[in-house]
């Protein structure tokens, strides 16, 4: 690896760090508006972007042999696959003869109401 390229990396580190700080600020401020969609995007959306930046630049995934990004993407695919197959079992709460604890209904009601009343979030 040439010296020139090496230097460029250093420049990137600070730049990426600055972007991450800005994104952190966004993810802190976003949920303060207490609007469901904004909360989701600023919490999870920003988290995904931050994870991508860290993996790509700080973990040097863009400079590793090509099979390593493939392996990382494969793991992500497996994770989504796992979630897709497990979700119907563990996230489903309807069915004949099913009884869920009372707090589940309260939580659903809270979610349906837009989730704006933060202090009324029922505790399990």
């Amino acid at each position: 690896m040439s010296e020139e390229v090496h230097d460029t990396h250093h420049g990137n580190y600070v730049k990426i760090w600055a972007i991450l700080v800005v994104l952190l600020a966004v993810s802190v401020v976003g949920p303060m508006f207490e609007i469901r969609v904004v909360t989701l995007v600023t919490a999870f959306g920003v988290a995904i972007v931050k994870a991508y930046l860290v993996i790509k630049h700080f973990m040097h995934i863009n400079h590793t042999p090509r099979f390593i990004p493939y392996l990382v993407v494969t793991c992500l695919v497996f994770m989504l696959l796992f979630f897709a197959a497990v979700a119907p079992d563990v996230m489903n709460d309807t069915g004949s003869g099913w009884e869920k604890p009372a707090w589940v209904a309260e939580e659903k009601a809270w979610a349906a109401g837009g989730g704006s009343a933060g202090d009324q979030h029922p505790q399990p």
Binding site: C75, A85, P101
Partner: protein, 565 residues
Amino acid sequence: MTEAAVPALHDEQHHEQSFGQKYLWSTDHKMIAMQYLFTGMLMALVGGFMAYAFRMQLAFPGMDVPFYGIVSASEYNALVTNHGTIMIFWVAMPVLLAAFGNFLIPLMIGCDDMVFPKVNRLSYQIFLLSAVVILGSLFVEGGGFAGAWTAYPPLSAKAEYSQTPLGSSLWLVAVALEFVAFLLGGINFITTTMNSRAPGMKFYDIPMVVWMIVIASVLFLVSVGPLIAGAMMLFMDQNVGTAFYDPDRGGDPILWQHLFWFFGHPEVYVVMLPAVGITADVICVFARKKLFAYKTVLYTAFGTGVLSFTVWAHHQFIAGIDPRMAHIFTVTTLLISIPIAEMIFVYIATLYGGSIRLTTPMLWALAFIAEFLIGGVTGIFLGASGADIYLHDTYFVLAHFHYMFYPIAIIGTFAGIAHWFPKMFGRMMNETLGKIHFWLTVIPFNVIFIPLFILGLAGQHRRIYDYTNFPELAIQPLQDLRVLATVALLVMLGAQLIFLYNFFSSMFKGKKAGKNPWNATTLEWTTESPPPHGNWAELPTVYRGPYEYGNPDREDDYWPQNEPV
């Protein structure tokens, strides 16, 4: 980098080593391999003894079992749980993956040691600790964990159900430690194979057994995360009062089953692939023929690895999973039989027209193909959700499982030991004793498990301590089959004494082996037997693929990888 890079320095150090340096802190891959092998063999004796105790109870309920005593109901549960756990995690994995991986990878790819020798040492130390913990858990108050090797909650999560409060937690700790050991080992296997191959050794020149161990290590790395997370949650459910798997408090026990089997099914392939690789190498040497369709086998193994992540819920068809999912998992499960069948066909094609020598390792390799085929075919019934509704949790499942794992962990291992023993210890094993041991192991194996298929089809449920409590299962014909299976087990266990005698007497008194007693082509046969510290005085260069047998242009029927044209 390691000190191991300078052979001259090695020899000097080699002579000065104290007991601690040689055995406790050695970073030599061969020493670590031997430690894994002997620990695995010792644990196999423990696991085998457990099988002996609970099979005696099933055949002769309430009997005072010789060398054990009366098996109580809770002891029975602990015995079956720990038999399963030990045989998979402390026998199959350390021997097939760690012992053969450590011994063969540097020798077969032509380097002096693993790329991370100290990590390798740490891997074994942690593994040894895990073995001590699992053995210790058998002697704590309440006895060893008794919630079955799959540890399904709520049985495993609540001490009032499993009755083994300490044993349950120690079991989890031991399994977690064992996983750490194999993660460290796996990283070494993959990195060494990718980075330390002899000059000239391209990807398609790597012997199949090395490829298989590497693919198995990748599968293990990718699959183990969910189970470690799940095990941590289970540990907290047991000890801290969380409710991840407790439906009363909003948890879900099926989540554990998903987490366990997302690891558990690829784990089958983690132990299977090294055995498949050993078989490939052995049949090429003793059929004196090139491996038929090397690339096909390799790509098939990759394909099997990927597919193995899509089949896990076939273990849960009747656990209350979404029925739509059951359809999908039936299809993926039946799909995975295609690459496995392909491998079997490739092996048969390799044998076809070969100049077959029925040595002991070859007998084991042939037995692997035959017995594994039965395991695979019976799996198709269980993979179909409709048939599984009846067969689930019967002895049919148990017999199918053992027809998979026995060929892998026992027959495959014996093939490997018989084949590489001359390289490991510099002496030949006794062929006659080897063949007697072979027949007295393989025949009783079938006599044990074919009756269990029949019992399973007759509806005999697993995990029952005493069938006399169930009138419809206590009938004489069924009991006769249980006795038959148990007597066959006694014969098979007794035959292992022949192996132990042959192993240890050959180690010291066997005929000297020389460098290459089987006239094989791969690199490990080009160095001394046993190989010195650093493996070669001068590291080899590779000129061709690993299976160059029967070349018509040459006088010898084999062409070593390191021999220039």
